[in-house]
């Protein structure tokens, strides 16, 4: 670009053009921000209105950080729905000791850098606690920040690494891959009586947790997997590794990956002629998995989860009905565990008058809570639930075993 030699009128045009470009880019950026930055409800506007309403006591600020854009947006929305339902019910019943809960929603876009940035922001905005993230990798990145700030965090992540950070402020709202995979490995080895097992997992925080936990259980039983393949979390074409796995002719294929990737693995495995039964933890039971893989491919897959069905008992039925009414969609595991997790924190808030981090985590640990997923009792590292159940996919639905 050599502007110096251009005639003046052309320079003018050039500047106009620059302005136009700048304006165009600004608009594009604003649109992108408006859509991606704070997805959904006008989160940032909420606190100012609350502050002006003087006679009622200040609301309790709770911040939810989740993925509302990107490949794992399903997880973020399920988590949000569960938490929102618990908060709305508590507010409708008079709030926490007369104070309403003010739930703020931030979109981490599935990016650790954005998640940590939002965590800093939430803390500076005097949040009492943080719900999220729904991804283990992001939750892990947030732990040092919340620990230093002494703000409790409850995550929908399930990686064992989350509980190995030596922080009393982190809690997980279901259970870890260790518990999931103990249950799963026992079922495959003892009930299905199969020990020709191949493994495929991704090397993200969740996938690695699944891989290590399942492999540990196999090793304990003296079983060596026919193949043990690790892939990157964002890969979508698995022809090469699945070809190797097919060569080992396994009867069971263990998948340790998030919903969409698990679905793609299953779909491509079948199209390459792998006839093994797919087994895995909670992702295998989700509608996203079934939709991505296809109902035929998913048929007969074995999964494990603490929440198999909305029809388990009166409590889950009531939850599913309320969920359906509020969001016009069917309740599932991720929404249920978020509902449980938030309900436990609300109960803890009611129990302690002091909502500072150290007091709040003490209150959470003192509670025994009978939830949708089972009985919660949080231990020192932040694990509250200690069992899962086995389900099999039949015509796209989970059937309890």
């Amino acid at each position: 670009m050599t502007i110096e030699n251009e005639p003046n009128y052309r320079k003018g045009n050039m500047q106009m053009a620059r302005l136009r470009i700048l304006a165009g880019l600004t608009i594009a950026a604003l649109v992108a921000f408006a859509c991606g930055g704070t997805a959904g409800t006008g989160a940032t506007a909420a606190p100012s209105t609350a502050a002006t309403a003087s006679p009622t006591p200040d609301p309790i600020r709770v911040t939810l950080i989740g993925s509302f854009t990107g490949q794992n947006a399903d997880l973020g929305n399920w988590m949000w729905n569960g938490v929102k339902l618990a908060v709305d019910e508590a507010n409708a019943a008079g709030g926490v000791n007369g104070r309403k809960i003010d739930l703020i929603k931030y979109d981490d876009q599935g990016q650790p850098t954005i998640a940590t940035d939002l965590t800093q922001r939430a803390i500076s905005e005097k949040t009492v606690m943080i719900y999220g993230a729904n991804l283990s990798t992001l939750s892990l990145a947030m732990i040092p920040i919340i620990t230093a700030a002494k703000i409790p965090q409850i995550t929908s992540g399930q990686a064992p690494a989350l509980l190995q950070q030596n922080s009393p402020y982190i809690f997980i709202d279901s259970t870890t891959s260790v518990v999931f995979d103990q249950t799963l490995a026992k079922y495959v080895l003892n009930t299905m009586k199969i020990n020709s097992i191949a493994m495929i997992s991704n090397n993200g925080t969740y996938g690695k947790g699944e891989h290590d936990s399942f492999l540990a259980e196999l090793t304990k039983a003296g079983v060596t997997p026919t193949a043990d393949k690790v892939i990157a979390p964002d890969v979508k074409d698995f022809t090469a590794v699945l070809t190797e796995i097919r060569g080992t002719n396994p009867k069971v294929l263990f998948i340790g990956a998030e919903e969409v990737q698990s679905g793609l693995i299953a779909k491509q495995a079948r199209s390459l002629g792998i006839s093994a039964t797919f087994v895995g933890a909670a992702p295998i039971g989700t509608p996203t998995f079934v939709q991505t893989a296809g109902v035929d491919v998913a048929e007969g897959s074995v999964m494990t989860s603490p929440y198999l069905s909305n029809d388990t008992n009166a409590k889950t039925k009531a939850f599913a009905a309320a969920y359906q009414k509020a969001f016009n969609s069917e309740a599932e595991f991720h929404g249920a565990k978020a509902y449980d997790g938030m309900s436990i924190f609300i109960q803890a808030m009611k129990k302690t008058s002091d909502l500072s981090g150290p007091k709040l985590i003490e209150a959470v640990r003192s509670i025994t809570y009978d939830g949708l997923l089972g009985q919660f009792k949080y231990d020192e590292v932040g694990l509250g639930l200690h069992a899962t159940q086995i389900g099999i996919l039949k015509a796209g639905k989970i059937v309890a075993q």
């Binding site: 470009i21 165009g24 991606g36 990107g70 890969v235 074409d237 060569g247």
Partner: protein, 289 residues
Amino acid sequence: MTYVLQTLVGGLGMGAVYALVAMGFSIVYRTMGLVNFAHADVVMIGAFLAATLFVTMHLPFAVAITLAVLLTAVIGLGMERILRPLESKDLNLMLIGTIGFGIMLQSVAIVVWGSFGIAVPTPIPNVPIDVGGIIVTTYQLFVLAVSGIVMLLLYLFLDRTKLGTAMQSAAMDRSAATAMGVNVATSNAIAFAIGSAIAAVAGALVGPLLYVNPTLGVYVGIKGFAAAILGGFGSIPGAIVGGLIFGLIEAFASGPLSAYSELLTFVVFALAMMVRQTGIFGERTVDRA
């Protein structure tokens, strides 16, 4: 041996898709010397349109892909028209304009389709065919066939029609072509329309292989762009060869070091570019900037 052949087959399927994306980059570049950074997102829009028409509206796949191609071509025309005032001033400005347009397309996709994405079933029964131990699926053959037809059509258009030749002359020397009666603006508009139409074909084909969501363009686009460079940016045969080779590099890289396949793919790409900076068919690229 079975492993090598099987990986080869898998790599060619994705390679054909990368080749289509690379062709879209190249047709615009060779016509007007512009790198269209919105191209990756045009692929994504094409994929969404095809997926919506096929999955949500239950149209036959042939109809869905045709409509998606036409609609996406119109988007390409619109993009060229919006950015045209910049073309005669400074191509760098237009380049930045395409980046902005790409961001806008992603945002529009999130507004229209949401952030969830659509899982697309294969349009034809995806039967695994066993050829001496190597599994070829019917859908892979379908992807290769459709890509081949599109490549042939584009080649015939550029080399055998008057309009195609006129577009090439506009690329070589803008003012001389204008003096010869070639309408450069029309030529550019057609390049954008064709590039976008091919992007829609790539998007429609890749949907059932992967998963259609607003970030699909990032996944396929970067590799298509790299494939175009590998083949020699601006060269149509280069785009095809570059795409297929890139697909193969990726397939073979994901075997031994599957956890780092992306890294390995781009390391091999970087090494290849160090050996031959201009790409495989590099000598034929247009340099107008």
